[in-house]
Amino acid sequence: MRILLDKFSKSFGSTNIIEDMNLEVGSGEMLALLGPSGCGKSTTLFAVCGIHRPTSGRILFGTRDVTDLPSQERNVGVVFQSYALYPHMTVEENIGFPLMVRRIASADIKKQVADIADLVHIGDLLGRRPAQLSGGQQQRVALARALIRRPDVLLLDEPLANLDAKLRLEMRSEIRRLQKETGITAILVTHDQVEAMSMCDRIAIMKSGEIVQIATPSEMYKDPRTSFVASFLGNPPISFLKGKAQQGAFVLGENGLCLPIAALSGIPDGTTLSLGVRPEHFGTAGGIPVEGKVVFAETQGRENLYDVVLPDGSVLRSIQPVRDDVKPGDSVRWNLDSASTFVFAEDGRRL
């Protein structure tokens, strides 16, 4: 079921958290809401599930306007950031709660609970209370509770934050599989860009209550609209160089490095710019040599990560296949692939 936020605004008292947000999540699509803490991700989710009424604007499920519909009638499954399990109920009762309030026969509930609990690997914990579970186990109970009544819309507020790396990978694909199988429209709120990129069809990046860009993960990686988006995606993160435009080229500092870049034709000389260079675009391949000094080296097993300080003090990050010949303190002359860099104006806009 399609979700549409139409000029959605939300303010608490006199503070506007979200203003005129437009967002469409296609039927059966899984969208990631990615953004820094406090940018309004949870607030958006709460509006979709009906806990917060929008200050203005409309919310549509399919073609049905649900703006004024109480949460109970929206058929939305939510995994809350703080789990919100009922402490006085056992795991079984927690998961079965959405069915119980619909007065479904308890034998049916028991069976469905058992099925979904196996799915999230908590089948042997059904008799426990939330206080007797680890964080990750609680999270899976919350997930099971959100999924059990086959909601039209699934909202996940950082559902995997407390899991260990292995379980997180497993749950990622599990949630994605479930979502695809059932065709549920889902919104996943996360801080973790890897999670967003690996699980979702599209990513919406939010910053202080606004959606900066919506795109598929690869589009967004290759074609960020602002420096904020570019800095948010990618691990290790992109590095920025500060410089000026000069005759269609990017010039770093006084008489420093000069990079001819196609996008810069027509930009007046002297405009302050910043150049985004992803670590994989600085290293052995590429056309323009850059000299610097390695100040930091780290191996990640298959790849090595280096921080290189340029003569003017700015830092470029580089990721390369494992090699043993470079150590911190060494001077290097590596190549920069200028065609793959991004140029941003002073206000962060991509040029």
Binding site: F46, G50, I51, Q72, S82, V101, R128, R129, Q132
Partner: protein
């Protein structure tokens, strides 16, 4: 740090209960006093003796006349004819007459012929009746009786001593009285009725109702409601009850109001037992409900907001939210309020004392008020400390037993959360 606390606890918490228990095992009253007593053949003592020793009882009650030195000395002091004294001493010394008539017959027969007035005067001097005489020790009483011609076996002496002792004694009689008296049974039923109805209707149910309804109100409206419901609690009880009296008096608001429709004015508070209970329960209920409301409100506030959010998106209606999310998490506060309010309803009687004084008749007399009336304040003037203390002790025991029962019912053990079980 333990020593001062222990002193305080034993002095102010333990001592009253222990003293009550000690008093409860005595028959102390205004009549006996709380220090030692004396031996006195009162009419009451005679009555008590009537069943066990009817002869002695009758004899003791009668005046007795004995010719002895004491009487003769008094006679000499009267300066009547000297012959009276001499003759009585020589021929009648030590004689005991069971009645005035017999004594006077002998006096009349004296050679010096006393006049009728003198006969009476003389006989008075030899009156040795023990009725209403106070003896400081038991031996004095026994010596006196012996002189009067009552020879008693040691067992009989015990009975007499017990019947005539005016001080307090150790006894379990109080509990027998409490157990057997139909008055006490009635008071017990009154108390059970008063406590359970006030507790269930107001202190718990109504308080819960207020707490839950204010929880679903906007914050500012809710605090206004809570403040209003707190008023009975913060108003001095004398004034608060006075307001109720003003409402229910014959010239009060209710009378004035229904007077408009032609009903004659009457005192609604005391006009029937039914009305008296109605108002007593309202007066106490409104005070009690405010405390429960506060406790329950803050307990509901302590439930994380997200649980309400979660249950809403899970599809729970308001009622289901109350039933499945709020109430189960209020088990401990409900237990606390039930326990606390049971005890305070059992023990406090000031609202009843100020409003109905237990009336009309003894319709609204509850246990604690009856104990107060028995031990400290009643119309006959004989304050029965011992009996009152025994009643108070019953209250303490009932309170403890009820608390234990509540702990069981609410399964206190499960309220204490279990530690995390390791995988």
């Amino acid at each position: 740090m333990i020593a001062p606390a222990a002193v305080m606890i034993s002095l102010f918490f333990l001592m009253p209960v222990i003293l009550t228990a000690i008093f409860a095992m005595t028959n102390m009253s205004t009549a006996t006093g709380i220090s030692g007593g004396a031996w006195q053949v009162t009419q009451g003592a005679v009555n008590r003796l009537k069943t066990a020793m009817p002869e002695l009882a009758n004899g003791i009650a009668e005046p007795r006349f004995v010719v002895d030195e004491e009487g003769l000395a008094a006679l000499e002091a009267l300066k009547l004819k000297a012959g009276f004294t001499t003759e009585l001493r020589t021929s009648h010394m030590g004689e005991v007459f069971p009645s005035r008539r017999e004594a006077e017959r002998v006096i009349k027969a004296l050679k010096d012929r006393p006049s009728t007035r003198e006969v009476k005067q003389i006989s008075d001097l030899f009156n040795r009746s023990v009725l209403n005489t106070r003896f400081e020790t038991r031996d004095e009483l026994m010596a006196s009786l012996k002189k009067l011609g009552f020879t008693l076996t040691p067992a009989e002496q015990d009975t007499v001593a017990k019947a005539t002792y005016t001080g307090w004694v150790w006894t379990t009689e109080n509990f027998r009285i409490i157990g057997n008296s139909p008055d006490m049974a009635q008071i017990f039923l009154n108390t059970a009725f008063y406590v359970s109805v006030t507790l269930l209707l107001f202190n718990v149910s109504y308080a819960l109702f207020l707490a839950i309804t204010t929880h679903y109100m906007p914050a500012s409206t809710a605090s206004i409601f809570r403040a209003i419901w707190l008023l009975p609690r913060i108003t001095p009880v004398v004034i608060y009850v006075l307001l109720w009296k003003w409402l229910t008096w014959d010239s009060g608001f209710i009378s004035m109001f229904v007077g408009q429709f032609g009903y004659p004015p009457k005192n609604y508070l005391l006009d029937s037992a039914y009305n008296a209970w109605f108002f007593v329960i309202l007066i106490n209920g409104f005070i009690g409900a405010s405390m429960g409301m506060l406790v329950f409100s803050s307990a509901i506030k302590a439930i994380p907001q997200t649980q309400f959010h979660a249950s809403e998106v899970d599809g729970a209606s308001r009622w289901q939210q109350v039933r499945h999310v709020i109430l189960p998490q209020l088990r401990w506060p409900i237990l606390f309020v039930t326990c606390y309010q049971t005890l305070s309803l059992l023990a406090s009687f000031n609202e009843i004392l100020l409003s109905t004084r237990g009336g009309p008749g003894k319709a609204t007399e509850v246990w604690s008020l009856a104990a107060f009336h028995t031990a400290l304040n009643n119309y006959t003037g004989n304050l029965e400390y011992g009996l009152g203390a025994a009643m108070a002790l019953v209250l303490v025991v009932v309170g403890i037993v009820l608390s234990l029962i509540y702990l069981r019912i609410f399964r206190y053990d499960t309220l204490i959360s279990k530690p995390l079980i390791e995988d």
